[in-house]
Subunit: 515 residues, 2 copies
């Protein structure tokens, strides 16, 4: 057995059995090992950003890492944008990046580059000097690291930059998985202090482990008991929501809206969340979005067991078995007439099937979050790091992870084009993914942001740089070119019927929403 096979055998023994791959010559031994180890499922993509985004979706749905196979520095480079989102989502991922043999690096062959520095941008664990003897063990360390929650935004991405001779040389055999440290529990004194501070002037901000259903149930009970408010952050990696599940608000996006949302809050309690900060800095606008006079206290960091912490607070307050506010079932009224973002949101809310996984990106998809709170139970995977082109790839990973659940990807037209290659893998694997592209023929967010600069009119040359109408992009053809059937709709009625049909029929579909 060579190093590559010892690595793959170790992975599958430890339950890591999917590889989102866009291999090149330096990964041929990894391909050979995938061929030799049938438990490892290779999923081919045409672009590395699809691989990394798919691994993100897979990891968010399973809690286990998928691997990616990427071709040296350029391959990892193409994967960075969606790895950035995955880092922000704290998704476990193991990147397998092929490299030259170490003795070959000095020859400075054309594909040689400093891969470690690239990896550093997104990885909390990097190993680039494995040997055939160490490769299996290194893989298990990569796995353990990817499953270890970290403070701050260090993420959980491991990147193995594998010298090709470590793949082809003989190895002993598979290695075992090391013990993964559990999320730490906060101490009793802190629980007590936070519990005693809560009143109607408090808001508990939930993120990371605080997004779990048990954590949100505990937070809801605490809110019912103390009168405090609860909210999730603006960019939750995963929210399991819908009728019957604990309800809560969500932090808005623009700084002035966040400050409005938090108005009157005297104590902001962070439960797995960071202090709210403006997504971008603006002249004359604060970056830290906490109202004047509001005290910020931390119950738990994003690496800690926030579920435990909130349950301990509820226990202390005597409400661990109390009632909690669940979302009520309801069906938004379907709209008619010219299609709008509101019409799409209403249709998504009304038609979302039980168990659906909704993947969002830039574009109008975020507006459907509210209407889906009354839908049947589902999972919402949000854009976490602001790097657009996420939803198509994440939808792939979610569908591979959960083959029995329908997946809905809501994507802006601009965002869709970064990773349009996702359609091909969706068709190839026959994934039950319905993609809605919000086609307003522009980078709408930039128009908004530009006006926020204080400019009242957008000059012609600037407007041209936000414009996607010259030429217009035909997303039906984009999808069809890669084997995904598509349909363009411009009325709310047609959108609703297209969405209902796509949910019924298995396999991938595109709906191009003409706005």
């Amino acid at each position: 057995m060579n190093g590559a096979e010892s690595l793959m055998r170790s992975f599958v023994a430890a339950g890591v059995d999917v590889c989102f791959a866009n291999p090149g010559t330096s990964e041929m031994h990894l391909v050979q090992a995938i061929d030799a180890v049938p438990e490892m499922r290779g999923v081919l993509a045409l672009f590395e950003g699809v691989c990394t985004g798919a691994a993100d979706g897979y990891g968010r749905m399973t809690g286990r890492p998928a691997t990616t196979a990427l071709h040296l520095g350029p391959g990892l480079g193409n994967g960075i944008a969606n790895l950035h989102n995955a880092r922000r989502a704290a998704t476990p991922i193991i990147n397998l990046v092929g490299n030259h043999a170490l003795y070959h690096l000095d020859l400075d062959a054309p594909l040689t580059s400093d891969i470690d520095t690239l990896a550093k941008n997104v990885s909390s664990w990097i190993k680039s000097d494995s040997t055939a003897e160490s490769l299996a063990q290194d893989g298990m360390q990569a796995l353990a690291s990817s499953l270890t929650a970290r403070s701050g935004s260090a993420g959980q991405i491991s990147t193995m930059i594998i010298p090709v001779d470590a793949c082809w040389s003989p190895a002993e055999g598979a290695a075992d998985m090391p013990v993964v440290p559990e999320r730490t529990k906060v101490d009793e004194a802190l629980v007590r202090k936070v519990a005693e501070s809560l009143d109607p002037g408090s808001l508990i901000l939930l993120d990371s482990d605080g997004l779990s259903i048990p954590a949100r149930i505990a937070a809801n009970r605490i809110a019912a008991k103390t009168g405090c408010r609860i909210s999730i952050g603006c960019f939750p990696s995963r929210v399991d929501g819908g009728a019957g599940l604990p309800d809560c608000e969500r932090l808005p996006y623009f700084p002035e809206h966040v400050l409005g949302f938090l108005k009157g809050v005297k104590t902001l309690v962070l439960a797995g969340a960071q202090t709210p900060a403006s997504f971008f800095a603006y002249p004359d606008t604060p970056g830290v979005l906490v109202p004047e006079g509001c005290e910020v206290s931390r119950l738990s960091g994003n690496h800690e067991n926030t579920t435990y912490a909130l349950q301990a607070v509820a226990e202390y307050l005597g409400c661990i078995d109390g009632a909690y506010q669940a979302s009520e079932a309801g069906t938004p009224e379907l709209r008619t007439g010219k299609l709008s973002t509101g019409g799409i949101s209403a249709a998504v809310g009304a038609l979302l099937p039980e168990g659906a996984i909704v993947c969002t990106d830039s574009g109008g998809g975020g507006a459907a979050f509210g209407p889906t709170r009354s839908s049947p139970q589902h999972t919402w995977l949000n854009l976490t790091g602001g790097s657009i082109g996420q939803a198509g790839p994440v939808a792939i990973g979610a569908a591979i992870a959960c083959p029995d659940r329908p997946v809905l990807a809501l994507i802006g037209d601009g965002a869709c084009m970064y990773t349009n290659q996702a359609f091909w893998t969706q068709a190839r694997e026959g994934l039950d993914v319905t993609t809605v592209v919000f086609n307003n023929a522009k980078y709408g967010i930039l128009e908004t942001e530009y006006l926020r600069l204080g400019v009242n009119e957008i000059g012609e040359r600037a407007a041209d740089l936000f414009d996607l109408s010259r030429p217009s992009i035909d997303f039906v053809k984009v999808a069809e070119s890669m084997g995904v059937p598509g349909r363009a709709v411009s009325t709310a009625e047609d959108f609703s019927s297209a969405l209902a049909a796509a949910f019924v029929e298995p396999g991938p579909h595109l709906i191009e929403a003409m706005l």
Copy 2:
């Protein structure tokens, strides 16, 4: 005037007047500055790899840098693959990467990341702490650095990571361009030593500045005088070739072919070239591709004035005005019947118009290099760094740089999909680019490389990871979806007529060559 405008005004005054842009919120002041400075041409792309590849093509054709506008770490990440090729081509490029205000970085907003480490992978000059007062001056340093040839493969890419407050705060005004150091000249003793060593057992290997027409003329005269051979490297960034221009051989790709090509060479003289090395390491194959007993000597490095060095050698040998071997005009015979790579090469050689710029990638395009040596004079832009997805973007830059010259992009099917968004910018700008996609429905090179592992049969699961036929990709639809008319052909006759028609009609075209 704010910092962003001072930067743009400095650039246009120094002759840097194109910006290949895919901006986001942190680049809005750069967009505002482009709007305010009409001499700066903004060219929008849907994906950052198109911007960076276009800047590569532009720089190779003009010798001057274009700028790119990229959105923080993820935007630069998406641009890395084609910047890798540009680094290998030593193309001058100035990346403008927006960043948060420095005071905002500590808040760790979602798009925050360590951009410097990403930039390090491809840049020889990085500045990430500009202020509004320094921005114009920093831009001029970036420009000077991009025009400074460097030894080794350090490249000539400058990356400005620009804090947004440096863009929006007041600045003094434009700055002037500093003096750029010229390529150094080798000394007389070395010229004499090399000149005296040349005989029929020598081979001069040309690259970098040694690819210039005057350098190749001098090398040809030296060969005529001494009986030595001359060759260009396997991955020349730019070769101006065709009938009447100095002819020479080209180093092959696979290690055994290189060693065969160099068989019998006693002295290998590097003129702007590196010692030939295997593109990848293989078990039991040497990495340094120099025959046993062959001495390697260096006339000039890739940062030196190789044109001068070769002319000095010719002068010393008394052949500076001698005859040289020029390529003879000729027209390959057009093929008939089922389309093949050979048929495409013959048609390209026979039909290539005067002044054409040929941009290549992976796929069969490289095979047309030989047949075009007898074509009318043209420019060949090669894949330099092995990072595929280059030709479509490079074609954009070449067409923007040389609006009166037809551009031909030869791209493999796999390669085309990495940066298929190039079609959109070609349509938007009405560029005279003809794209030929070699559609063999597989990653053909990987099949070849896999067999080189010593495996005689490709397992089903491995073969699946090289296969692009499930589903097949309809490149005509891909191009049409973005406004480029396309035609699929499967016979040599149809290919020839499609190519001839595309060369006659202005604007972008796609020919999908079904192999």
